[in-house]
Symmetry: C2
Subunit: 341 residues, 2 copies
């Protein structure tokens, strides 16, 4: 870096002066369409050399103000504390960049107020499209975007006003339930109804998973007990508390459980350890979501892994197709080979 400390940043006007040419020529050269604008190779090379020497960096604000498209794509995401959302964000950034878009992501902590503020801020930054991932009120966000003439899409949780890409929660839950029931039969010698724990009864995914859970029981002629469906929220503490309360409730706890997220599984595992069930093989678990350490817990826990690349591929297809109708696209989750127990 062989220049003096500069208070102001270098602009195309500075470069123009240094090169003895006009700002317009500099702009044309630096944004690559200098052939179209008939700038000579000599001048182009000179400008590029000087830009390099000066460590010039485009002022995106000025550029975006002038251009019609921002090429910015926004995503809001509830949390970064599990593999599912982490993978969504990482894959999203990758795929966006591969398409020449600039991804901006913000985490809203499942807070409806923050979601709205984040969406407004993203609109201020002229996003061309906003992906609302796991939003508590996706339709509110779609409305805000629509008012600004910006596209929006829902991911993970569906909305009624914009296209949505979600896992096939029903099919995934049905298969996961079937596997837990089978494992339960194999390990315990009989097939007993399972406990469902975690998630919010009000959210679409949990509702669908409960439906799949019921269906799998029905498929095998096992009756589901209402008291064994505990949509107590996602936090580990909530799962732990719900199990404590359920355990007090007279009837014995089921030996098999369908846990609705890795986050809830943390609470379930803590409860299991605390209540002394850890080492015996009498508990048969399954989890809707994937984490590498869960495999290593060694309890033969079945997992459903949501197909993040598949979902995001659909998201970008929707964006590119320009579709705006509020369809719901369901992507089948991946169910790894059964775990050795």
């Amino acid at each position: 870096m062989n220049q003096v400390k500069q208070a102001k940043r270098t602009t195309i006007y500075d470069l123009a002066e240094l090169a003895g040419t006009s700002a317009s020529a500099v702009s044309a050269v630096l944004n690559g369409n200098w052939k179209k604008r008939r700038i000579s190779v000599q001048l182009a090379e000179k400008i590029m050399r000087i830009a390099e020497e000066q460590g010039y960096a485009l002022n995106m604000q000025a550029s975006l103000l002038r251009r019609e498209k921002s090429h910015i794509i926004g995503m809001i995401v509830p949390k970064y504390d599990n593999r599912y959302f982490g993978s969504i964000v990482e894959t999203f950034e990758d795929m966006a960049r591969a398409r020449g878009l600039f991804p901006i992501i913000t985490c809203t902590r499942r807070d409806p107020q923050l979601e709205v503020e984040a969406a407004r801020t993203m609109l201020s930054y002229q996003v061309e499209c906003l992906i609302a991932t796991g939003a508590t009120d996706p339709d509110r966000i779609t409305e805000m975007c629509a008012a600004a003439g910006v596209r929006s899409l829902n991911l993970d949780l569906p909305g009624a006003l914009a296209p949505s890409v979600i896992s096939d929660n029903f099919a995934g839950a049905r298969e996961l339930t079937r596997r837990i029931l089978k494992n339960s039969e194999q390990r315990l010698g009989k097939m007993e109804p399972l406990l469902f724990i975690g998630g919010r009864g009000s959210d679409h995914n949990t509702a669908e998973r409960i439906r799949g859970f019921r269906k799998a029981h029905a498929d095998l002629d096992v009756a589901v007990h209402e008291e064994n469906i505990l949509a107590c929220g996602y936090a580990p503490e909530k799962a732990e508390k719900a199990l404590d309360e359920r355990a007090l409730g007279g009837n014995a706890l089921p030996k098999g459980m369908f846990v609705n997220s890795t986050i809830s599984l943390e609470g379930v595992m803590r409860w299991i350890r605390r209540s002394g069930h850890l080492d015996d093989r009498s508990l048969v678990l399954g989890c809707f979501d994937w984490d590498p350490f869960v495999t290593l817990l060694g309890n033969g826990i079945e997992m459903v892994r949501q197909d993040v690349p598949g979902m995001l591929t659909k998201v970008f297809e929707l964006i590119e197709s320009g579709a705006n109708k509020p369809v719901v696209i369901q992507v089948p989750p991946l169910i790894p080979e059964a775990q050795e127990a």
Copy 2:
């Protein structure tokens, strides 16, 4: 949303026309300094009402172009696939917002090329400050920022040209090693030297942790064998492979291991299961980094949890103090109470 579908977004000029006033008054009202500009309460209220009705959203590009400060703060981060970086990102967003800054974050997958590109892009977006987290070449980023007159800071891994905030890796590793050795003595009846696995020998953190690892052995008069220091990289597969190779190497594998990240621990656990060591208590493990599921693995694995809020508090203190000297601030990690084995 009671307006017609609009192709163009509403600007202050549109609002000015609707309110029968000037764009300048609208701007003053909407950015809150209308009292200073002596706009009457009536007009202010009228403008705010109309802005609301029209679903007006500021064009940040135009606003930033004019203003001197962008209030944007950037962060680059290597991965989103573990609790440590997830927590850094979430905490960073929170603390930035609490200070009226707009955080933008991008993931560079430990790819030096991507890091440089990401930094250049962030400079284009006029970030006021860039935090390079776990960067492979932090000094390169500092140089780029300096050339644009932008501040930069290093987090997690130190650099030589900008202030750095990192964990006290030496002290953390020393204490972790001490605990593993103690557990090892308690469980196996004797104190044997440990194996160190994971990380890159070339990175500062791994080097410091190895130093702490050695120091703890020396403190207890235990000799460290060179062949038991395997800085094989972070990926799970690399740890697994390194253990395979080490196992072939004649001498018996140590029963105690210091694992240099949760990511490496995945590989170690897989290797342990594969080689049939899982259920016996002869293996004594510790991990530099924290994940809730590791507690639940039930092998009594000790963990060091890096103090993310503490580190980010230091980061923002540095930013606010305006300090630019390349100091290295070491934040002591948190070592949870010993695990029940």
